[in-house]
Symmetry: C2
Subunit: 385 residues, 2 copies
């Protein structure tokens, strides 16, 4: 067994198509859709070492390694997943999947609707965390994986891990929920709504059917990304990284061009994002975040909503995360404890705000590593035939 | 003396015009400008009971009472200023002044530039907190007020009170600085920049000269206001007031129309604001906020920046204010203490975030009332001839 810490190496995405309509929470359904995914490591003999990684807003199935056709494109959680890494691909068979509605390969608003021959655009159905998890379960069926050793995600990805434990208790041995929340707060929804207003009021949005107009609502999407980005960073981290440093000058220039470094950084982030991310996908994903609220069905009682859960839990939050602060994860912890569920919870003192879940932090990674080490000890080491 | 707590009653604004050019921090200057102001109470015999109230982003000279020509329009700090109120107009002569660059009566970007016969628009010069204070000092000269009993403001208004104490130590007996900061943080600037990007990327902005196009960048201004508004409220207060309550439905409708109460509220706030506020003024005022940083001239040493200050200080911050949290006011307190300045500081445990400075809170108002009571005791009770 190779235990050196390194990349999973070059990877290529696979695509699975599903003809059977997927019924959605909204009452609509979607047929003839595809899901893009990547896998790392090898499935063991009894197919018990599979780990599903769920992505957050701005990510995809490309979790680890680098793209064979574009080596600069390194997976978004490459520091977490790989040989010798916390989620060790020498021991686990890891699957990264791109969600329905995304713009990175799975069927989404920019995809051609086979029924019309045109991009879905505004006709793409609303998708929820529940829908994504159901679609992921069908992917697992197709890959002949009955039960995951773990389903894992950060932020919106953590919501999916939680939803897996609710919807498919028999199919998830461990749910790993990082920097997440059992529901958005009013403030969270408010920031999402600002982002959406920026997009839909951009004249280039054309009611969501901008593809036909050979344009994209770049300005709106850029503003949306800027406001989102602020919520990913901590106030202190921003102060440390940017403070009030001026850009390219020692003195005020008294104008509206970039004056402060933080402005330059945010504009760049917004611009870059608006060149590769689909505006309709941004709308869909922020709405999926808004809607997620498993305790809604139980009158706000999260413990009751998690009553059927049998998975064990690993949860992590970060002290400076003001988007989904530790209090939110502690709500999940309390509900699980009320249900006498087995869990491990770490509140990590990290400066990086919400984005901390993507960073390499020895305490954080050490905690996840130890958790996965314990899972690995319960698994058959034999590789699947 | 009438000590009943009531309104100052009907008020009308006055306007003073200044022909002499005002030199600005940017190196530019502005000539032939007017300042709009209101006064309440009566100046005493030795002209020692004048209090200047400085406004924040979305406010004006209309501080107290109601407009004689439009009684529904109540002053923005009417709970603070009036007969028997914390700033008691039975004892103080209070002046509210609208700043240069505003859109509520003083000369601003929407005003006609007498040199061209057209609205200033993008040619309106950048104005800073220092410039405003200088313009206010000229207004005080014109009103023959040599020294203010107090200069007072909340948020951006508090910056002006602080700047008065720095620029005109002999003319300010007391500086009353509420919910303010000695400088914006990177996060503060970031939110301002998002707001500005929303405005300037609106196609109706026309580089700031939208007046000539008979249009206004309503969409951008509305988004700008929405993002600003989020920063004025505390997370907890939003949770209390809105939570995840749905608007006009018991169930999710799975769409992008208003679904949650918080969305409805924010959209309404944005829309309303965009009908009466000038976009260029929004740009100018957010930039003035960004630029204010008195310690910049002293290498970041605020105590050194305040070395010449002789005014006494009253400072208030609010525990749930995450825009300008108590830590920021404590920086001013520390600097003043280092200089052995006389000061009173209250950190008020209030749920309303930054907006708390506008709310009626017994602890907060009690503290300000007591401070002004002490000032009043030092004043001649005789009314000016």
């Amino acid at each position: 067994m190779n235990t050196s810490i390194s990349s999973v190496g070059p990877v290529s995405a696979a695509t699975l198509s599903f003809a059977e309509p997927l019924p959605l929470a909204s009452g609509q359904s979607i047929a003839d859709y595809s899901l893009c995914y990547e896998t790392y490591g090898q499935l063991n003999a009894d197919r018990s070492n599979a780990v599903l990684i769920c992505h957050a807003l701005n990510a995809s199935h490309h979790v680890a390694g680098y793209r064979a056709d574009y080596p600069k494109d390194i997976g978004w959680w490459d520091n977490m997943v790989g040989p010798g890494k916390p989620v060790d691909t020498n021991r686990f068979f890891v699957i990264g999947v791109n969600n329905l509605g995304s713009c990175f390969g799975s069927t989404g608003p920019a995809s051609i609707n086979s029924a019309t021959g045109r991009p879905y655009g505004s006709s793409f159905p609303m998708v929820t965390v529940e829908d994504w998890v159901q679609a992921q379960a069908r992917l697992a069926d197709a890959l002949n994986i009955q039960r995951f050793a773990a389903v894992m995600g950060g932020s919106l990805g953590g919501m999916q891990a939680l939803q897996w434990a609710i919807a498919y208790p028999d199919r998830v041995a461990h749910a790993v929920v990082i920097a997440s929340t059992p529901r958005l707060s009013a403030q969270n929804i408010a920031f999402n709504e600002v982002a959406r207003r920026a997009i839909v009021t951009d004249p280039e949005f054309h009611g969501g059917d901008y593809y036909a107009h050979q344009t994209v609502p770049k300005r709106g999407l850029s503003v949306a990304r800027m406001v989102g980005h602020i919520t990913y960073l901590s106030d202190d981290d921003m102060a440390q990284k940017f403070g009030r440093a001026l850009r390219g000058s020692d003195d005020y220039r008294y104008g509206f061009d970039v004056e402060f470094e933080i402005e330059s950084y945010l504009r760049y982030q917004g611009e870059k994002f608006s060149t590769y991310f689909d505006a309709n996908t941004y709308l869909l994903i922020t709405r999926a975040l808004d809607y997620f609220d498993p305790a809604r069905r139980t009158g706000g009682d999260l413990a009751a909503a998690l009553a059927q859960v049998t998975s064990k839990f690993c949860l992590v939050s970060f002290t400076t995360d003001w988007r989904f602060p530790p209090e939110r994860t502690r709500e999940i912890v309390s509900a699980l404890m009320k249900n006498k569920a087995e869990l491990a919870y770490a509140e990590i003192d990290a400066p990086h705000g919400h984005d901390a879940f993507l960073m390499t932090d020895p305490k954080y990674h050490g905690f996840v590593r130890e958790y996965f080490d314990r899972i690995a000890k319960t698994l058959s080491p034999q590789v699947a035939a």
